[in-house]
Subunit: 392 residues, 2 copies
Amino acid sequence: MDNFRFCVGTDIRFGKERLAELPEVLAEYGKKVLLVYGGGSIKKNGLYDKIQRLLKDFEIVELAGVEPNPRLTTVKKGAALCREQQIDVILAVGGGSTVDCSKVIAAATFYEGDPWEFIKDRQYVGKALPLVDILTLAATGSEMNRGAVISNWDTNEKIGVGGWEMLPKVSFLDPENTFTVSKYQTAAGSADILSHLFENYFKNTEGTDVQDFVAEGLMKTVIKNCPIALVEPNNYDARANLMWASTLALNGLTGSGKGGAWSCHPIEHELSAYYDITHGIGLAILTPRWLKYVLNEKTATKIAQYARNVWQVTESVDELAARIGIQKTYDYFKACGIPMTLPEVGIDEEKFELMAQQAVKHSDIENSAYVPMTAADVVGILQDCLIESSYL
Amino acid sequence: MDNFRFCVGTDIRFGKERLAELPEVLAEYGKKVLLVYGGGSIKKNGLYDKIQRLLKDFEIVELAGVEPNPRLTTVKKGAALCREQQIDVILAVGGGSTVDCSKVIAAATFYEGDPWEFIKDRQYVGKALPLVDILTLAATGSEMNRGAVISNWDTNEKIGVGGWEMLPKVSFLDPENTFTVSKYQTAAGSADILSHLFENYFKNTEGTDVQDFVAEGLMKTVIKNCPIALVEPNNYDARANLMWASTLALNGLTGSGKGGAWSCHPIEHELSAYYDITHGIGLAILTPRWLKYVLNEKTATKIAQYARNVWQVTESVDELAARIGIQKTYDYFKACGIPMTLPEVGIDEEKFELMAQQAVKHSDIENSAYVPMTAADVVGILQDCLIESSYL
């Protein structure tokens, strides 16, 4: 196990009917609130009105229309608003995109210069506005970590950035706020959670049973509860388990103490950067192909562990167990209604070479991934995504 | 899943050779440090000298001799020292007892009146001195939570108390500091970790897959790594997994969102209060008897889940799978060298009735335990602990 620092003090308010606590929470930081949200689903489901009623004694400035892959232009707009209006605290209401965008706005407010500079540095060091969020989608885990991903459409780049001060102060996690999430987004969000767990699970650091066994538990939680939420969107416990799993999957719990670069995320970021597809869908498509690509004598043990502990595969030969586990992963995503080839989401071979090069350039997969990959390897994985696959 | 609040911002510095960070960490709170420790093992293993060298620019006041079941008299002594010497920050070096004692000293320093008052209230509301700790034993999880257990030898009472401000600010977790922990204490600590997981796992709240599957992962971690640490005390990864598991077993991760009282801990607290035995040993002795006692048609499903997911029991009939799981738990503790009957730790029937009454009085096991228990039930469980048991 590697050395690590774990310090994630976000105050999680989990459960039903907790928004009455919102005014007291925000009042700790001031009276002037930037309300950040996305496409307006919070107006349809009544959350927007509820917040307006609760915050009648606050001065609210709005930033609406945060994109599913939040854009640098929106960050700049938000930061300008915060400075002009002397905002005290940001209230993000939405999924990971809205929270991510708000984090970078919180930082950019205090940054002199183009925020793309520190985003490209991957790291923000400095002050940020306090951020409170109300989560409406179980997926990214952004509600309890210091990271954010921002897209720049001028350069077709999608880059992750982190900062000590970007951690949300308080996150309201009410599973009922996810009842109206569509089947497609529920499945995509679940694939995102699983991918975070896979990325941390498949690493080369030895002696990390805590992280790995906890990750397996979270994987089983998602695998069990996503189909329930698809069939019964108002099933509170299914939504609650997905929501809390999404938070724990990327708050450091399963990644701390393990080194090395992630694999599928850097590749997916290029798919989203060039085609603006749903992040979790891209991850679901890539994951089984990637696992097949990296399966070798050395990795078979761990992939077989995954197959046995998560999918109850009983096969005793590691490589075969691993293949069965990969097949089960593929079948599961397909059963959840995820389109499992790139052409189904409008992506063909045209930009494979370019995206592969960018994936290698924007990450460390060539050096420190679970199995290091060159641009040629990435092209191979992308080509596997053109047609339906079998792993047995 | 029940509503919950999860807010545990302790800054965990995990790994080797991190103590160089200690002066900077303490300096944030001041220059005057109360150094709290136990029986002097930190003098034997060199930790005491290392701390003295690192803190040469600080003014150190010492409180040595914290007992394995820390006493109210020591809390009072520590609080008096903090007031007299105008201490800025407490540095606890030791296991859970030392950290627990330090937490209550930190609170009692600001409490006018006998600290036993707020301990009996189970809750401390108010200011506390900041607390930093260097952990030397994987067991109680005190390094990342707000609770503490204090014994009062005037009244033979051992009571748990919690307080919002009692959460350690920074905890240094270096697995190497546990290399010198004896086999007996390693096994006892592991039993304590497992018991925390069992207490949270066996509850009646429905729909808590996250908590339960994560708990199963942590149980498997302890079950795998304790025997390795017993055979190879200097095995870093085994010690690291035990240490990090101990922290996560009681930081709210597996308990948040689940309601109801614990069962074995209230009974064990009476054993310790009257006989001063090692907490984890008492828990190991009680656990299989308690599980057998509460096994019924309703609980068989969950105990069988434990047996299958943690012990790989393949039996398909729930009640039989549960019995096999209980037997495996018993055999495991015994194989770890734990004396598995009460007479072996010097306890006979004499005070069973009294301790049972006290366990019921000091807790809510009669009303809200997994299976509610009267004093007569507790006596039954204690009587089962008189001889070696079989569960099949």
